[in-house]
Subunit: 288 residues, 2 copies
Amino acid sequence: MADIGFIGLGIMGLPMARNLAQAGHQLHVWARRPETLQAIETDPRFTVHASPAQVAAATQAVFTIVADTPDVEAVLFAEQGILAGARPGLIVIDMSTASAEATRRFAELLAAKGVDMLDAPVSGGEVGAIQGNLSIMVGGKPAVFEAIKPFFALMGKNIVHVGSHGAGQVAKACNQIVVGVTIEAVAEALTFAQAHGVDAGKVREALLGGFAGSRILDIHGRRMLEDDYRPGFKATLHAKDMRIVAQGMAAHDLTLPCTELVGEKMQTLAHGEWAESDSSALYKLLKH
Amino acid sequence: MADIGFIGLGIMGLPMARNLAQAGHQLHVWARRPETLQAIETDPRFTVHASPAQVAAATQAVFTIVADTPDVEAVLFAEQGILAGARPGLIVIDMSTASAEATRRFAELLAAKGVDMLDAPVSGGEVGAIQGNLSIMVGGKPAVFEAIKPFFALMGKNIVHVGSHGAGQVAKACNQIVVGVTIEAVAEALTFAQAHGVDAGKVREALLGGFAGSRILDIHGRRMLEDDYRPGFKATLHAKDMRIVAQGMAAHDLTLPCTELVGEKMQTLAHGEWAESDSSALYKLLKH
């Protein structure tokens, strides 16, 4: 059993940390907002520290899962950040969804101090986090991946070492591209059916058995037809991820037309009445 | 065992007709191009006629599967077309992919002469036609659908009565929207990965287990990564289907941005060096 650092006890992080604790590990945590700690303060498997630096000093591996790239940067490099307390040999596993370019820079800065990093963003939502069957997309050195794999196995099922630093974030960006554009594809198809006066539920049923079949058509398609946009995955978060995608496109001078289009629609969604809804509310932006 | 008409012995139609014949039915056929008949001329289960009118006169149900809306119109309403030989009570089952608006008009014209019509376009490609596991999307009267269902079951597996006349064509259009836009989504995501220097095969693997998973990511994604665009489903045909989608959008004053974008890209593909390739060659139109 190991002493493990865990920073970011949010909707995703809390159940993920609990799955690590459930396996017998001792969790060392810090939270930016003290109220976050209420959920674990009476749990003997959790030790609360005063800073990320103190968490790093008490452990040999620290998992982080925070909201966005600047939050990752702050947890790593602020005055009382992880690096300030890290001994050589520490492994930082960032499970946030963040910029691949920034991740590569962070990994270099950490490596200069003898600290190894993996980027390991996840897909599967709160349900996947609770059930421990997340998809985990990992970038970093193979030996470090192998060392951390047993911990990943406590949180996820489909665990793929995609490549070197940043590759996990690139895979996650690809995931959000495919999910976003496929949601739009389903939304446009169901809109086409309804405009023709045809039962869109029957169309969904007919399509599920063929090449058009997907988890998005199944689950998100049903949300559209039932007009039930409880998340799921919030439009604000998908919009944040699509901004990261846009940064990656800009960094490599890429033109990806449907991705750009859905990225813009997702920003519209995230700044309107559907901001806190599931991102399949993209359907609501089409004229009916 | 029944006498069945079948017009359109092409890549799809020939194996579909053979599956009907295999079950013991006698097939009455006509072909616009005589060379098409070579495949069946020594087969005693097939009777060749001199016109669609003669096919109609010899049978109580005629299946048609031809290239495009004007071909359907010609087979039905030309001087020696099906209507010219039809007795009241004949059922015409059009399995072509054609315009829903035109289909509704055809059904009305036939009904005025006592002829029933179903639209029943299919999905699943040549392999599905051979194996008899096509998806069949049906529009028309429920009683007529029930009468023809046993024949559909010889050609397909996922058979859905979507609604009244034209509803099958609407479902097929929706199918082509979702397939086309999802191919573009996968193409853009894999392009994003490669631009970042990340193994796109590993990305595909990581995504298959999660919400981004689909048959398109699996099969068409592999075609892109292996640079193997043998059809499958030809770009020229997908482009034709997207023109039918565009007609449906215009008829209902619909704006579906990703559908429009992919429709335009599909026309570009169908008028260039990839015309006879699988439509997943959309990948080739992105800058790498």
